[in-house]
């Protein structure tokens, strides 16, 4: 019985985004711009789910989610750029010609095909996360130390991606994409399709995360967050669990990046600077850490406010966003989800919000 209103909210959410918006678009009430805007927010929401998994549930502050996001994004971007280049009957992407590069660098080769690109944009972030995570967790780096080491990683990668030597377009990144699987990217139909795919992927990602955190695995993650040594004494291989969570989070980041690029039309190192990762943490924290819905809501809300206010209040939007953060903290102690709950309990709806706990410290 208790589950019902929460399910209702889920259904309403899906109904609104899967039916109302697209139909609105077809009727000409909703511009295709807003549609693809929401598509991009969904990508952020997917990445935020990853952060919630690793930070909210496992208590590991990872400051390189934006880097994983970009890895996924670059993989897809490379594919799109190769396709666009082929379409213009050129051998090499434009920026390579400028940089006096005569043959396609070896690591670009796999991205000619769509399927390899798709697989790689999940696999590359996951593999990188696996290697990095293995060393970090093995030497028992925790807490802020973990935050700093991942930040250092993100920062150094950012600096490397900025270089032309890496053959990934330097500061300008990858842009000027034309088609995806033969569909022209700027066509409204393609945009709507991408939007729907992203929405579906968000739902799938949410479902997976939901399963994960409600399985015993999820409980172990929460236990690690609250008292890691105890988990070890209880004979769980903490390293494996953390690593698994980290890799899943990275893969979610990659997935998000992969979906993001065709909708945005550009991917640059700017997406992975330190601030970008911190902002992702902020979405989750604002929405309600340790709660999957919170992560989604936080990501959607902040980006919505960001887009809206930079257009409508170009001079003052930072005040608005800043106040949003401060007020949320001061008045709704469980993030934005806390507010919804408060309203819910006021009007008598009982949501089955997952229990939120800040842990022992």
């Amino acid at each position: 019985m208790q589950l019902k209103p929460a399910k209702l909210i889920n259904i309403l959410f899906i109904l609104f985004f899967a039916v109302v918006l697209p139909v609105g678009n077809m009727l000409g009430l909703v511009s295709v711009n807003s549609i693809s805007l929401w598509g991009r927010y969904f990508c952020f929401a997917i990445a935020a789910l990853g952060i919630d998994l690793i930070w909210g549930y496992t208590g590991i502050m990872s400051m390189c989610q934006a880097f994983f996001f970009c890895l996924g994004g670059y993989c897809m971007g490379m594919h799109l750029l190769l396709k666009a280049t082929a379409l213009q009957q050129q051998l090499l992407p434009e920026f390579m010609t400028w940089n006096d590069i005569t043959t396609l660098p070896w690591f670009w080769e796999p991205f000619h095909g769509f399927v390899p690109a798709l697989v790689l944009s999940l696999l590359v972030p996951a593999a990188v996360a696996f290697v990095i995570g293995y060393f970090i967790f093995r030497s028992r780096i925790k807490g802020v130390y973990m935050a700093i080491i991942t930040q250092a990683l993100a920062l150094s990668m950012y600096l490397l991606f900025l270089r032309n030597e890496t053959n990934l377009g330097g500061t300008n990144g990858l842009t000027n994409f034309k088609t995806l699987l033969g569909f022209e990217l700027h066509k409204p139909g393609t945009k709507l399709g991408l939007y729907l795919v992203t929405l579906a992927m968000l739902c799938v990602a949410y479902g997976c995360c939901y399963k994960i955190v409600h399985s015993k695995f999820g409980k172990v993650l929460q236990a690690i967050r609250d008292s890691e040594p105890r988990v070890g004494y209880t004979a769980y291989r903490v390293l494996h669990y953390k690593l698994a969570a980290f890799v899943v989070a990275a893969a979610l980041g990659g997935l998000a990046g992969m979906l993001y690029v065709p909708q945005t039309g550009i991917i640059t190192p700017g997406r992975m600077d330190v601030k970008a990762s911190v902002e992702m943490l902020m979405w989750v924290a604002l929405g309600g850490r340790g709660n999957l819905k919170g992560a989604v809501i936080g990501a959607l809300l902040v980006n919505c406010v960001y887009s809206y206010c930079t257009s409508v209040f170009p001079q003052g939007w930072l005040f608005i966003l800043g106040m949003l953060y401060i007020l949320t903290v001061l008045y709704f102690d469980k993030g934005f989800l806390g507010l919804f709950e408060k309203i819910g309990s006021k009007i008598g709806i009982k949501t089955n919000s997952e229990r939120y706990a800040t842990g022992s410290k």
Binding site: A147, L159, M282, G316, L318, L321, Y325, D333
Partner: protein, 342 residues
């Protein structure tokens, strides 16, 4: 990699090799450097060393306030950089006041005045932040992260709309130019001044924290707020003091920063990443660690930069830091024994 670690006597992040190895390596490095410096006629090494110390002292100066607020009060203050910015703008305002209102010609006086003023102004701003927001959040470090992030956005935009985007402070006459050691080697006064200022601040802070009652109260409150209260410590007052000192130090750093850089609304963001790096590498809550880390990063960066391009120097230092954390996962000076247990 596995093999490499074994050879070095390092396993699962713990040093199991001979204990004397690190000091010997360190002493060797120092000796090597000392010999190069002594036999160095072109001044390159002294120059690099000086640059390193100078950069290190800047890092330390910027990080000390953070070390207090974060390391001692446990608050991840995302707005720390903005207090630096407040300090810098205070210095700028003092300069404007001196030239436009008091019509003082010499550019020395405004800077001398600005040092304490920027400390106090930034400190008061920090106090205000603590009273209005942080005070509610001591039990919730996560929320403080969010709130201070919001504050930082607001402060940046406020500065932007008050001061515009580009301002800089005049270099005081007494700090212009440099000390000409020999024809190849000039040590700029502004950098010498920052090094001196850093030393003074370190000593003052160290004494305050270790040798005074206030210092003990601060440390006690940080580690166990409610028990400290039960022992009769006015925790509110101590929290406020801690924040005042921490933010004030950031302000002071901002004032010093005007000697070498410009004053822009988001100048804090430039320094905050490095500052966090320094504080954490040193080991949270360890003043000595912050100092060592600051100097270490400073000197290493400059040595690397002499051989590689600045960009790769920066990448290398970051990679080095990551490698270092493999062996010292809790900073240079970790807590030992039971106090370390989480």
């Amino acid at each position: 990699m596995e093999l490499l670690l074994k050879i070095n006597g390092i396993k699962s992040g713990k040093w199991t090799g001979p204990k004397w190895l690190w000091p010997v390596i360190l002493a060797g490095a120092v000796l090597f450097f000392a010999v190069r410096v002594a036999t160095d006629s072109s001044g390159t090494y002294v120059q690099n060393l000086f640059s390193g110390i100078s950069l290190g002292s800047i890092l330390i100066l910027v990080s000390l306030g953070l070390a207090i607020v974060y390391g001692l009060a446990g608050i991840i203050n995302m707005a720390h950089g903005e207090f630096l910015m407040i300090g810098a703008y205070t210095t700028y305002s003092v300069q404007v006041f001196f030239t436009n209102v008091l019509h003082v010609q010499s550019s020395n006086w405004f800077f001398i005045t600005a040092l304490p003023v920027s400390f106090i102004v930034a400190g008061l701003a920090g106090l205000l932040l603590e009273r209005l927001i942080i005070r509610h959040l001591y039990a919730k470090p996560l929320e403080s992260l969010l709130a201070t992030w919001g504050v930082s956005l607001i402060l940046i935009q406020t500065a932007r709309s008050l001061f515009g985007d580009l301002t800089a402070v005049k270099l005081p006459e007494m700090l212009a130019g440099g000390w000409r050691v020999n024809e190849n080697l000039v040590l700029p006064y502004n950098r010498l001044f920052i090094i001196a200022l850093t030393i003074v601040v370190i000593i003052a802070l160290y004494r305050t924290l270790t040798a005074t009652r206030l210092g003990m109260q601060i440390r006690a409150v940080t580690q166990n707020r409610s028990m400290s209260a039960c022992l009769g410590i006015n925790t509110k007052r101590i929290d406020a003091m801690t924040f005042f000192i921490g933010s004030g130090l950031a302000g002071l750093a901002g004032c010093a920063m005007t000697l070498i850089g410009n004053v822009v609304p988001d100048m804090g963001q430039t320094y905050i990443v490095d500052a966090f790096l320094t504080v954490v590498i040193g080991g949270v809550g360890k003043l000595l660690g912050t100092i060592t880390a600051g100097l270490g990063i400073g000197i290493f960066s400059k040595v690397l930069e002499a051989f590689f391009e600045a960009v790769y120097g920066k990448v290398l230092i970051l990679l080095l830091i990551m490698l270092f954390m493999q062996f010292k996962p809790r900073g240079i000076f970790p807590d030992k024994g039971r106090t370390a247990a989480d």
